[in-house]
């Protein structure tokens, strides 16, 4: 799958490969020795965050998981 920053697609692939392995083999099994993908992630983010700014994509200041809802919430 392509990155929104054309130059970042390769960096994204490398990171995705590392992440998918760590996710299935370590994270889901509760083994959290540390994240082996930190460096790859940093390189990928440098590239993609730059592309996002250049394209004026408005991802800033948006609350994670959307606005809070008050009491009634169906997630864990």
């Amino acid at each position: 799958m392509n990155s929104v920053g054309e130059a970042c697609t390769e960096l994204k692939r490398e990171y995705d490969q590392c992440f998918n392995r760590w996710f299935a083999e370590k994270f889901l099994k509760g083994e959290n020795a540390g994240d082996p993908c930190v460096q790859l992630f940093k390189r990928y983010q440098l590239c993609v965050q730059k592309a996002i700014k250049e394209k004026d994509i408005p991802i800033e200041g948006l609350e994670f998981m959307g606005p809070s809802k008050g009491k009634a919430e169906n997630s864990s």
């Binding site: 990155s3 929104v4 994204k12 889901l28 408005p58 948006l62 994670f64 169906n74």
Partner: protein
Amino acid sequence: GSTCEAEAGSGGARPVPEVAAASRVPHGGGPAPAAGGALARVSGAGRREPMGKHCASLGVLRGPWDQVFAAFWQRYPNPYSKHVLTEDIVHREVTADQKLLSRRLLTKTNRMPRWAERFFPANVAHSVYILEDSIVDPQNRTMTTYTWNINHARLMVVEERCVYCVNPENSSWTEVKREAWVSSSLFGVSRAIQEFGLARFKSNVTKSTKGFEYVLAKLQGEAPSKTLVETAKEATEKAKETALAATEKAKDLASKAATKKKQYV
């Protein structure tokens, strides 16, 4: 309520009762949910009308939770995702309590019916940017997602919340609870048009009646009473005030309809 899937019973999905809808508050503030019912607004006559559209459904994925969560990150591309142009992780962290928080940015093609392209030509050229926030909790074997569009928002906002968990009837399967809301601030614009239209009509009725009385009195050979001449002047003044108030109210409604945050086409 309606099921979120396009064909009835697809993927074993079934609609979920409207009860879940009461917990939601729309973006940018708005009327609080009416007790025990779907999101509603109260018109002057006390009628309740639902704002926007809602759907909910319960579905199943035929795989164990850990496989499903892993597949979630490898979803794109697939034969059904030709409309998805790019995919990027723009934030990721593991919390102190071992949950994975991620934010994924997707760009998708903006496919609109031809009539919508004619009404909203400015939107045609722009792809849609969508953010998908997610929390993966391997200890509880659940995943929660929240997905929404961050542009074209003045035209329409679509939000979706999903909760993935182990299927209670078959632990090698995964249950998906899905809820979505579709809303448009153009709804508020059409309310403003109606309010302004009614206010202007009422002021015209006043002018129409007074004018009629005036001419009638003249026909009856009477000089229109001093009172009628006076009230004619008053009517013109009152009409000006009413029109001004209606314009202010319409502006107010229209600006309330646009959300507070900066919006992109």
